[in-house]
């Protein structure tokens, strides 16, 4: 359905601009969002990149300029690679990266395991139900993300309803520590990013031709086997898209580990925050951000290559 929507959009754009004015019209339509992205994404990125190669200095901003006048009409470019060396040299940062990737990966896996049956159920539900269920998935977005995470703090607290319920059921004698644990971080992650998993999966499952499953059954394939041989491979794109949409923001997540995680929950988002606002070491914070970006870009490229190879074969 993705490609259909895309071609539909493209068609609409072409029709809007018409064949005669198409060159100018198309250029304009593409230029506006790209200008926006350049202004608010590329420029800030370049600033961060610049700071990453700078050095700390007691001033405002607390960094040395990268381009300096060195006396007689000589423009000097001073790049400090020490920040990157520092980042890769410190076990804390490495641990933060590994931990972030691991928490994001596990959260993504759980979101997939929960999201796939959800998306499947919604896609196969009868017409009116499908719309209602779909709306329910999107409904959390009507409330602020921050508020929802705060709500989990209340739910998971020592005197929160979850502990209350467990006590009432007699499963525990005294309140257990739920908040400020890794468990709470995983819970918050899966809860927050589940819709991003469900939506692309729903699209992929919904467009799956059901006669293919009938054909599989007709050829002697039992339903469970047909799921793994037909449904799963044909919804692969939805799985990739959903995993990327969950994994990427989860790696750099700051709010959830900060609010739900404990003091020993080490995630790169928090480390960047601490370097930036605590230590006021902008160059190291920027270097961390750049390394994170490089890692994620690597993941995206890798997945894309795997996916395109899958389509060719």
């Amino acid at each position: 359905m993705n490609s259909r929507v895309q071609s539909g959009l493209l068609g609409a754009v072409t029709r809007l601009t018409g064949p005669g004015r198409s060159a100018v019209g198309r250029w304009f339509v593409i230029a506006v969002p790209y200008f926006w992205l350049a202004l608010f994404f590329l420029v800030p990125f370049l600033i961060v990149l610049k700071i990453a190669f700078s050095n700390v200095q007691l001033s405002m901003p607390p960094v040395e300029p990268v381009v300096v006048w060195a006396g007689d009409k000589v423009l000097q470019l001073r790049l400090h690679f020490s920040n990157f060396a520092f980042v890769f040299g410190d076990r804390l940062y490495i641990a933060a990266f590994v931990n972030s990737l691991q928490i994001a990966a596990v959260s993504t896996l759980f979101a997939l395991l929960i999201g796939y049956p959800m998306a499947y159920g919604i896609a196969r539900a009868p017409g009116t139900w499908r719309n209602i269920l779909f709306l329910l998935v999107v409904l959390p977005f009507f409330t602020s993300f921050l508020l929802r995470v705060y709500a989990w703090m209340g739910l998971l607290g020592r005197n929160g309803p979850i502990n209350g319920l467990l006590l009432a059921l007699g499963l525990i004698r005294e309140p257990v520590q739920l908040l400020q644990t890794d468990f709470a971080v995983y819970l918050g992650m899966v809860y927050s990013y589940l819709p991003f998993m469900v939506l692309p999966l729903y699209t992929a499952i919904e467009k799956l031709d059901l006669t293919l499953l009938e054909a599989a059954a007709d050829l002697g394939c039992r339903p469970t086997k047909a799921f793994f041989r037909i449904t799963l491979p044909l919804t692969k794109e939805g799985i990739f898209a959903g995993c990327l949409l969950v994994f990427i923001p989860a790696v750099g997540e700051y709010v959830i580990p900060a609010l739900l995680g404990g003091p020993d929950t080490l995630m790169i988002g928090r480390v960047v925050w601490d370097e930036f606002f605590g230590n006021r070491d902008w160059p190291v914070a920027s270097a961390l951000a750049i390394v994170l970006l490089a890692i994620l870009a690597g993941f995206v490229l890798l997945l894309q290559r795997v996916q395109s190879r899958g389509q060719e074969a």
């Binding site: 006669t211 059954a217 007709d218 002697g220 039992r222 339903p223 044909l234």
Partner: protein, 376 residues
């Protein structure tokens, strides 16, 4: 409607027991009855065609044979075994879907091998049988292609190969030629029949296209509103329709209402006010005297002439109001004095022929055996 005892006896195969027996099968979707008390016998190695308009229940009947729909009532026997409640993945039946339903992520070879894999065959056996069937449908060399790299006709062959490779007792074909263009259809029709004769598999075809049904099928069952109206050979259905609906559905026909005024064992005479006269038919009719009947006359059985023909009966005068020259035949519309417009088609046998012209007054006549009298 269950067929009359006499009809069932006539349909019983020479070789004894029917191969596929459908016994009073009914399927309801809520209030809607899609298939109603259908009983049908299909012989081993036969091509049987279910023909009907959309919503007549033919596809539901086919889906019940495949096992995709559970019947509300009745039973299905294949080769003497009751398969009514057997799930599709355990039935000795395969289906060729209208959309072909090829697995897009698998190659031609993997698609065809899919069914054999489910049976747990050895790799070497699978490879041999896949190669055999691909050769049979003339698709050698295409085994590594994906469905999106194939033309419509090639996809159809893959779908056919995939369904046939398991050597099913019964092959179901849902509008097998529906997705193909006209040229390819004609070619494929004959290929399909050839293949069926080579393999001897029993075919049940569903179609709304009467031409497809006539060319492919040994016998046709005409369906309407969940019931089978008539079962017979293409000739039976065309020349001896048992109801107005069947006469009208198959081919083109002139239908008129009449009253039986003369009823003898060897002939009948029917007063047909719409035609402004009586129609003489040289065979008996099983209807009470004075009964209201319909008279059906095929356009190609009516002749036009400038001079009054010699015969006494079945002669009318009229004016040509429309001519369509189609090359092999010419179709005429002839208005009778009563206002009834008769469809007539005449073969163009001679190249140099003085053709009838529009608005010309002509005589119309037909043979005493041409008209069919239907009571239903």
């Amino acid at each position: 409607m269950s067929p009359a005892p006499a009809e069932r006896a006539a349909a019983a195969p020479v070789s004894g027991e029917p191969y596929v027996r459908i016994d009073r099968l009914t399927k309801r979707f809520g209030e809607f009855v899609a298939v109603q008390q259908v009983s049908l016998d299909i012989r081993r190695g036969e091509i049987f065609c279910l023909l009907g308009g959309s919503g007549c229940g033919k596809t539901t009947l086919l889906r019940m044979l495949a096992g995709f729909e559970a019947p509300s009532e009745g039973a299905i026997y294949i080769d003497g075994v009751d398969v009514t409640l057997v799930p599709p993945y355990e039935r000795p039946v395969n289906m060729m879907f209208q959309s072909f339903a090829l697995f897009p992520h698998m190659t031609v070879e993997q698609n065809v091998a899919f069914g054999l894999r489910q049976d747990g065959l050895r790799g070497a056996d699978i490879a041999r049988r896949v190669a055999e069937i691909l050769a049979l449908v003339k698709l050698e060399g295409y085994d590594k292609r994906k469905p999106h790299q194939l033309s419509g006709g090639q996809k159809q062959r893959v779908a056919l190969a995939r369904a046939l490779v398991k050597r099913p007792k019964l092959l179901l074909l849902d509008e097998p030629l529906g997705a193909l263009d006209k040229k390819l259809r004609e070619h494929t029709q004959f290929e399909l029949v050839n293949l069926q004769q080579q393999l001897g598999v029993t075919f049940v075809i569903v179609t709304h296209d009467q031409e497809e049904a006539m060319t492919l099928a040994a016998r046709i069952g005409v369906m309407r509103a969940g019931q089978i109206l008539q079962v017979g050979t293409p000739t039976d259905i065309y020349e001896f329709p048992n109801s107005r609906y069947v006469a009208d559905f198959i081919g083109s026909v002139n239908l008129a209402e009449g009253r039986l005024i003369e009823d003898a064992p060897d002939h009948v005479r029917i007063d047909v006010p719409q035609l402004g006269g009586t129609v003489y038919v040289d065979h008996g009719v099983s209807a009470p005297p004075d009964a209201q009947v319909s008279v059906a006359i095929r356009p190609e059985k009516i002749h036009l002439s400038r001079e009054r023909p010699a015969q006494q009966d079945n002669v009318l005068g009229g004016v040509i109001t429309g001519i369509a020259y189609l090359g092999d035949v010419t179709r005429y519309l002839v208005r009778l004095p009563t206002g009834y417009v008769l469809r007539v088609s005449a073969p163009n046998v001679f190249r140099h022929e003085e053709r009838l012209a529009d608005a010309e007054t002509v005589w119309i006549h037909w043979h005493a055996s041409a008209a069919v009298v239907v009571t239903g």
